[in-house]
Symmetry: C2
Subunit: 500 residues, 2 copies
């Protein structure tokens, strides 16, 4: 259901009986999408705002999703012949200044280290910064400049190319209006940096890495993406081309979900990354960079979660199956728990991530906890199930309609299939909604009319030549929309809309 | 062979024929241990100093060792019921100041962020820090204070305890005399933070986590450790007890390799981590913290490497088997490469990490590269081997004496066993040398005599009561030795010596 549909349904219901539907998350998506988002995160115990301005604490459940995310993406990166390494957190200012466009792009959001110790503050009490550095250092907002320095040492001959290096790291871009996962001053990401002997290889590879992200988003996160190229104004500072995948979320806004940049020779010029070619000439390398961040967890939430909370794609779910023993009589406790443990072991033997909740919490609290955390499959086992050799299971994305009681054997035989089906079905639902949110228009007037109607949700698609029209600047200003990308799948078309 | 023995052997040889033994690493351990260490690292292509003062670049081969290290340690941490999470890199000064001893301990080595953007510097050109923060922030040297803030929110009732949280993170302690892996301004580590309802549980758990480190060092890194408690002066700033494992390296110096701290109620007092006990009383929690860092890779080098370079324990080796095709006649190339590829596949099927070097490098360069990188098993395959259905393999730790030619089938049947043997044998050799470097003395005069003789290598062990003696301070000053730990395995005894 889109936000628009949810709004309509909500209005109809309010009209009929003036009674709000009971949901686990307050407010609902239709009532207040941004607050709903925060509420899903806290209800799932994924993360919280921290005492450090603009930064978040990723709690164990949120971090476990990130770990599965990392593992899946990391194995894909390695399959592309990329090797992991690690470069310094702090970048000396002189490096950062080398690429003019690059420093302009990041100067306004840099955390700057100026001192290397603290000393007693005799005037105000407490401590104050001391040991001023002769050269300030920047906490990396991205690492092209410091990695370029290493590349200039590592690359000497055409035999050293291509060079493909990735790092998993924290980065810092000072954020005035932070939102958990989507936009925080510190965030987690991987940044890949490749170098090639020719311009063609560099461009091909930057497109290939974008295709890797698109496949990962589809098959792991169940998120359909619109892949394309950024317009010149939206490029990464210092890039000659920026490729992007954009998710269209339930509120119709786009989220830039990963980018891959063809940097041409801009950074190899500023860092002097040169090599001797096969015919003995000294040449500059062509470089690329490509990154995906923890904001993809924000995309996952806004793409899949509903008014009862999170729904996690099975591939990255910390628990894929959650077993809840339903005990009405203490005399049955140990029998039911044994039965649950046997099931748990059988599922673990199938490499399924299973959690058995044997805590003292009330059964409804366990059930709602499991729903709000978006565990793909909920299994309930009471005395009746036990005595019949059965279990009852419910898929999180479908809910009540999928509730099935069957034998343990039958369930164990098909559980992997159910998880695979859910993964695919989450993608299909998301894909259909995404497509329904792309509205073709022929003129900028039509685009204006679309955005002017507040009932409209989504993005517009039109001929890219219209971007040159003067009226396009007005459209951007009036509705805070931007060109998201020149769409690969629709030649000559651009996607335009609001974004995070 | 200890450094001492190596020195003697070297002297003898020089006396005999005035010809130095040919080694891959220059200088040798006996000639200059610190330079040998740097040379092992660069010869193995593990890491390099970076343009950022005091920081290193971990290159792909070094980082691959770190990844295996992480994986092995992480699975142990999870088995202890600890969950991973992530907390902010930057700590507001006011948090850091809360625990007085703690801030005193770290004030002299803090990187301080004071500004959040850059602006053009009209006087000197280029850019200068701008947007001064109202409160400076510290790049975490460790996270007790910021994690304590979260714990005070997460812990309300005895039901929330114990709480066991770990993070894998980069930390920063400004370093004036950096050495790669051992001591750099930025380093990688995991820091665990546990909270308990009673003092007893906290102390028991901090000892248990130390035991986990000891087992990991032994079984994964093949490094024997002396486990014990730090004396009061050597404690972590703010701890009531610090437990440590100390490695005694080939030059006889000790390396503190991991610590586990019982923090008592010091940090729960300053961060107000309180809970309602089972009988309804409001109580302060007892907390612990425990960490192991990337310096363990330095320990691995200084414990195992020899004058031909690195020796990597099979458990963390990026390549466990390195296959070198030996091609004298180009007509044999494709047959030999096919033969090598088949072997490579068979080994991969056994989950062995195998690298086939089909590059154009010369065979001796491949051989020495493999030796300098410390790959556990080197396999050479030439025409003669191929025609007989054989391979030739050599263990890195034993070298020439282990060189064996046998059938592919025989090798595939025992390769796991060979790697296990090597892992164990590396530990046994290191254990015997470690023990030979601990010298029992009865008096401080004897200790003085030990350290005064420059031929002596290692640490002394004596009655801990002697630490109270005034002469002990003189000993520390004269020889730059410190009490490494009150040894768990030798009650009442202390280990004293030089350290990294």
């Amino acid at each position: 259901m889109t936000v628009q549909q949810a709004k309509q349904k909500n209005n109809q219901q309010q009209g009929k009986k003036a009674k709000k539907p009971k949901t686990a998350i307050t407010p609902t998506r239709a009532e207040n999408f941004p607050e709903w988002y925060q509420s899903v995160i806290s209800s799932a115990d994924m993360a919280e705002n921290s005492a450090t301005r603009g930064c978040m604490v990723i709690k164990p459940y949120g971090y476990a999703i990130w770990e599965h995310f990392q593992q899946e993406l990391n194995s894909r990166i390695k399959k592309h012949g990329v090797k992991n390494a690690y470069f310094p957190l702090l970048i000396p200012l002189r490096f950062f200044e080398k690429e003019a466009e690059h420093v302009d792009g990041f100067a306004k959001e840099c955390a700057v280290v100026t001192h290397h110790r603290l000393e007693p503050d005799s005037e105000n009490g407490g401590l104050k910064p001391a040991g001023e550095l002769t050269e300030p250092m920047i906490i990396r907002p991205t690492s092209e400049t410091i990695i370029g320095e290493s590349f200039s040492n590592w690359i000497n001959s055409y035999r050293d190319l291509p060079l493909k290096i990735n790092q998993w790291a924290n980065v810092m871009r000072w954020e005035m209006r932070p939102r958990m996962f989507l936009r925080t001053s510190e965030f987690m990401w991987q940044e890949g940096h490749n170098a090639f002997a020719t311009a063609t290889e560099a461009d091909e590879d930057s497109r290939k890495m974008l295709a890797m992200y698109e496949e990962f988003a589809k098959n792991v996160m169940a998120i359909p993406m619109i892949a394309g190229e950024k317009t010149a104004d939206e490029r990464f500072p210092g890039a000659v081309a920026t490729y992007t995948i954009e998710a269209i979320l339930q509120d119709g806004k786009a989220l830039q979900s990963a980018t891959s940049h063809n940097l041409g020779q801009n950074f190899s010029t500023s860092a002097n990354i040169s090599f001797q070619s096969q015919d003995g000439e000294e040449k500059l390398a062509w470089t690329t960079s490509w990154g995906m961040t923890s904001r993809m967890i924000g995309a996952m939430i806004m793409m899949h979660a509903d008014d009862d909370g999170l729904i996690v794609p099975p591939k990255v779910a910390p628990h894929q199956v959650y077993i809840i023993p339903v005990i009405h009589d203490d005399a049955d406790r140990s029998d039911i728990l044994n039965y649950c443990e046997n099931l748990s072991k059988r599922l673990q033997d199938q490499d399924i991530r299973v959690e058995l909740d044997a805590s003292e919490k009330r059964t409804p609290d366990k059930m709602w906890g499991c729903i709000k955390q978006g565990v793909p499959l909920r299994v309930e086992i009471g005395k009746r199930e036990m005595e019949a050799g059965n279990i009852t299971h419910t898929r999180r994305d479908i809910g009540r309609d999928s509730k099935t009681t069957e034998t343990v054997d039958a369930f164990c035989g098909k559980v992997t299939g159910i998880l695979d089906d859910m993964q695919q079905s989450m993608y299909d639902v998301a894909y259909a909604r995404t497509m329904s949110m792309i509205h073709d228009v022929k003129t900028l007037d039509e685009a204006h009319a679309f955005f002017a109607d507040k009932n409209n949700v989504g993005q517009v698609r039109f001929d890219a030549s219209l971007l040159q029209d003067e009226a396009f600047a007005d459209l951007m200003k009036e509705f805070s929309v931007t060109p998201r990308c020149l769409i690969f799948a629709n030649e000559g078309k651009v996607l335009v809309g609001r974004s995070y």
